[in-house]
């Protein structure tokens, strides 16, 4: 099955300032009396070192250093001006409307101290009171990364002109899945780079769209990339701004990179007055453990409502989304272009209470950021998220890129507009269900998009994909057909429709849709793979083999196709050929679970138990799979490693709580270990699930007999014979009692 989602990556531009009135209200006399004369060494240096030097140091993104008295004096009047207007430090959210981590906003007291210091002639103070300035290293903050990616071709940023928005593609040279616990971006020329976003392109789709020019970087403010075959929603804000330290993910929440993924570094670059060269590097730090918590990015937006008349100083768009489950909101990322003015985001809880998420009174694309909450914001099921953005398309908006103002609609250029609110949410597990709760969020999100635009291609497609995953093939089919009504030759949708039809049991119709897809695009590997898989599943081995062979001519490094071809060879009793294909698949993709499992089966059949064990252990590192646990348990049991076998069967039982097989196997192992009460308990558990199995009753009788409980044994054998009067073992056992 294939799926596509739109990852609109924001991008940006220019500067702002808000006039402040706070100082007039401050008790100057009290501050002065309490602290004595304001000097650099006593009060100002700590403020600058804590709030400014992070950017303002040699090699930093700030245009000058603030690491000494001489620096501070040189820039004192400017510092006073830009802090009083709140232009610096850059921080857009209004205090009291969301409690964010790492707030850069200066306190009223700090602002007052700076003003007093400048007005007093910027005295240095006693040298004994000088705090040590912070030390900034050019090295990686977390030590040498596990993997360093570098943009292929440096970009020459001209001395002047409008801002540039460029997407640099970074292929990721890994041969197995990696989990990223931290990332650091070194932009190359920090004074040029306003901000950067990293996107994961699961299918290298942007690189494939630009086979000849991707190394130079692709221009554009926002991007849409293909999210690949499985439900794999974007999960993390990978955002960089000038003072961003290494981005360390919370414990249990690394993000994933698979072989074949690209990272896309979307950068906003601002000319400085002289030509600059930008060549960014990205350092990645691996975790050896996959994620245990799976956040998801949700988006509110209403781009289709963006049609702002020239001169309109207060044009409003809104969106809302009802949450189908409990979530914790971890962070928000508001985004608009140059006309954005006021941004409001909040939630109305089921009890009617209003919970603010963020308020920005004077949006400035130049100073955009991701805002992470100090602690997660819990929103219960049925809370409604609201977004309300106001735009100023008048001449009075100095950031207006159009002079005179013109009618503005949504678009990807800097003269167009956007209105997005991204939220990173951590869904709570669903009670009494193993379903991925993110599916319900995706469903609600896409339904919301369809409410705004019933023909939204991406929303229709993604919603259909959710229905397919959830097993509602009829709904999926309806939605895919709505997509095809507008784009009848869309190969991806034809292929996905085939999958839905196959799921619904209409395999001949599915076959027809795959063939239609291949008629439209004979090179389409997804459609050919799915057709081959369908034919294999329905026993048309020769046809399936032919399709896979054809596919492998086009894409010889397709590990999944090698694995499937191997499976056909297994099914048609050609184990040597099968083994070769599985080995090839594993060589291409060492983390290919299916190939590892399938090869383990062949090795087990060949009595090569150590190799089979090794393969299954490797497979289980990729996926906690009950079949792999069961096969490994069987191998351990066969090898006499009863305690290890027990562990595997227990894992199967946890994964398949309603299955009788693991209980039976546990009973057998306990019996072999002489733990008859445990064996009886497990056998009884199997019979509680399926009381109609005569073999199970017979076995229960045997365990009771061995345990010395003849009465219970007799009852069990008799029950077996009631169920199956011809059960010879039960009859013989009964006779022996």
């Amino acid at each position: 099955m294939t799926r596509r989602s739109a990852n609109h990556l924001p991008v940006t531009l220019l500067g702002t300032a808000a006039l402040l009135t706070l100082l007039a209200q401050l008790p100057h006399a009290r501050v002065r009396a309490a602290t004595g004369p304001v000097t650099f060494n006593r009060q100002i240096a700590p403020i600058l070192y804590n709030h400014c030097s992070g950017c303002h140091h040699p090699g930093g993104s700030g245009p000058f250093s603030l690491l000494s008295y001489a620096d501070a004096k040189r820039w004192g009047t400017t510092i006073r001006t830009v802090t009083q207007t709140h232009y610096m430090p850059p921080w857009l959210p209004e205090p009291g409307f969301g409690n964010f981590a790492d707030s850069r906003r200066l306190s009223d007291e700090d602002l007052s101290l700076i003003k007093m210091w400048v007005e007093a002639g910027m005295p240095e103070g006693e040298s004994a009171e000088t705090p040590k300035p912070p030390i900034f290293s050019k090295d990686w903050q977390l030590g040498p990364p596990d993997l360093i990616l570098r943009v292929e071709s440096p970009l020459q940023v001209p001395a002047s002109g409008t801002d540039l928005f460029r997407n640099f593609i970074l292929p990721v040279p890994i041969t197995q899945t990696r989990y990223i616990r931290a990332m650091e971006i070194k932009p190359g020329a920090p004074r040029v780079v306003h901000h950067a976003n990293v996107l994961i392109d699961r299918t290298a789709s942007l690189r494939r769209q630009h086979p000849n020019d991707w190394k130079q970087g692709i221009p554009g403010m926002e991007l849409t990339v293909d999210s690949g075959e499985s439900f794999d929603p974007d999960s993390h804000f990978l955002f960089w701004k000038p003072d961003s330290p290494a981005l360390i993910e919370p414990s249990g929440m690394p993000w994933r990179l698979d072989p074949g993924n690209d990272l896309i570094l979307n950068m906003h670059l601002k000319p400085t007055g002289k030509p600059e060269t930008v060549q960014a590097t990205v350092g990645l730090y691996f975790s050896d453990k996959p994620a245990t918590a799976h956040p998801m990015l949700l988006q509110l937006e209403h781009d289709s409502a963006l049609d702002i008349p020239a001169g309109d100083a207060a044009f409003v768009i809104e969106d809302h989304l009802k949450l189908p489950i409990d979530v914790d909101v971890l962070g928000v990322y508001p985004h608009a272009h140059y006309l954005g003015k006021k941004m409001e985001a909040y939630a109305i809880l089921p009890n009617g209470a209003k919970k603010w998420l963020i308020l920005i009174r004077d949006w400035d694309i130049d100073r955009q950021s991701v805002y992470r909450f100090q602690s997660p914001v819990f929103l219960p099921k049925n809370s409604v998220l609201y977004m309300r953005y106001t735009y100023d398309n008048s001449k009075a908006n100095i950031r207006n890129p159009n002079s005179p103002p013109i009618r503005v609609k949504a678009g990807n250029r800097s003269v167009d507009e956007m209105g997005h609110l991204w939220l990173q949410v951590l869904p709570h597990a669903l009670p009494n269900s193993n379903q991925d709760p993110r599916l319900l969020l995706e469903q609600a999100w896409m339904q919301n998009n369809l409410r705004k635009d019933p023909d939204d291609h991406t929303a229709l497609y993604n919603l259909a994909s959710v229905e397919t995953i959830s097993g509602d093939y009829t709904s999926a089919e309806t939605l895919y057909r709505r997509v095809l009504a507008r784009t009848p030759d869309d190969v991806r949708t034809l292929t996905a429709l085939g999958t839905a039809l196959d799921g619904a049991g209409n395999w001949q119709q599915a076959q027809a849709e795959y063939q239609k897809a291949l008629t439209a695009d004979p090179e389409n590997t997804d459609a050919r793979f799915d057709l081959a898989h369908l034919e294999f599943k329905h026993g048309s081995y020769a046809e399936a083999e032919e399709e896979y062979r054809r596919l492998l001519v086009e894409t010889p490094k397709d590990a999944s196709a090698h694995n499937e071809l191997g499976a056909i060879f297994s099914a048609t009793n050609r184990p040597t050929d099968a083994q070769h294909e599985f080995e090839t698949a594993i060589a291409l993709d060492p983390g290919n679970f299916d190939a590892l499992y399938n090869l383990a089966g062949i090795e087990a059949d060949n009595s090569n138990l150590p190799r089979a064990t090794e393969l299954l252990q490797q497979a289980l590192k990729q996926k906690d799979d009950p079949d792999a646990h069961q096969l490994l348990g069987n191998i351990y049991a066969q090898s006499g490693m009863l305690a290890d076998a027990l562990e595997q069967f227990k894992a199967v039982q946890l994964l398949r709580p309603h299955d009788t097989v693991p209980h039976r196997q546990l009973a057998q192992i306990y019996s072999q270990m002489g733990q008859l009460p445990d064996a009886i308990s497990e056998q009884s558990a199997a019979l509680a699930i399926d009381p109609g199995n005569a073999d199970d009753w017979n076995n229960l009788g045997v365990f009771h007999a061995r345990n010395g409980d003849k009465a219970s044994a007799r009852k069990a054998f008799e029950r077996a014979l009631t169920l199956n009067p011809q059960h010879t073992a039960a009859r013989a056992n009964l006779a022996r009692l």
């Binding site: 220019l14 300032a17 001006t81 207007t85 002047s160 801002d163 007055g273 002289k274 100095i398 002079s403």
Partner: protein
Amino acid sequence: MRHSFFMVLALACVSTIALVSHAQRVPLAYGYNINGQPVTRLAAPGSEAIVLFFVASDCPISNRYIPELRRLEKSFAAQRVSFWFVYPNVGETPEGVRQHETAYGPEANILLDPHHQLVDLTHVTVTPESAILVPEHADAETLRTVYHGRIDDRYLQIGRERPSATQHDLERAIADVLQHRSVQQPDGPAVGCGIIGQP
């Protein structure tokens, strides 16, 4: 009252610069160049106007204006206008200015003004800011300030910046001078980094 009076004069741009002591006929220096030599003449005889760009090597707004200043130089190159990059900040050194040139491109006429003779005479307060001087006589030795202020309206204040300028005040003023019209003054304040004087 005296202070207000001069402010009015300055805004009206009629202050006259006489750098020659008529009594002694000894030329004074406007400042010095990057070789440390005094600059006693800003324009050759016959010049119609002298445009001063007050810049600072460490001011980001000033640096971002350099391409625009170069565009103006090029635009008026054939029209007997002399352009000077004036570095007014105390602490600017010839070596520092040389390094700045290396990064941002060479400039024919560079002047360091650590004693703020030109700053005082033109009443500029920030970098980048501009002034236009016109010769009172054909010998170009007595100069009159006819304009000082912002280059254009790109910056409204620090942090409030247009994507591109909509009004090119300095360019309009130079054209006024060349066409012998009344020189329009800037419609807003110059925005940038304060000029640094002696401690």
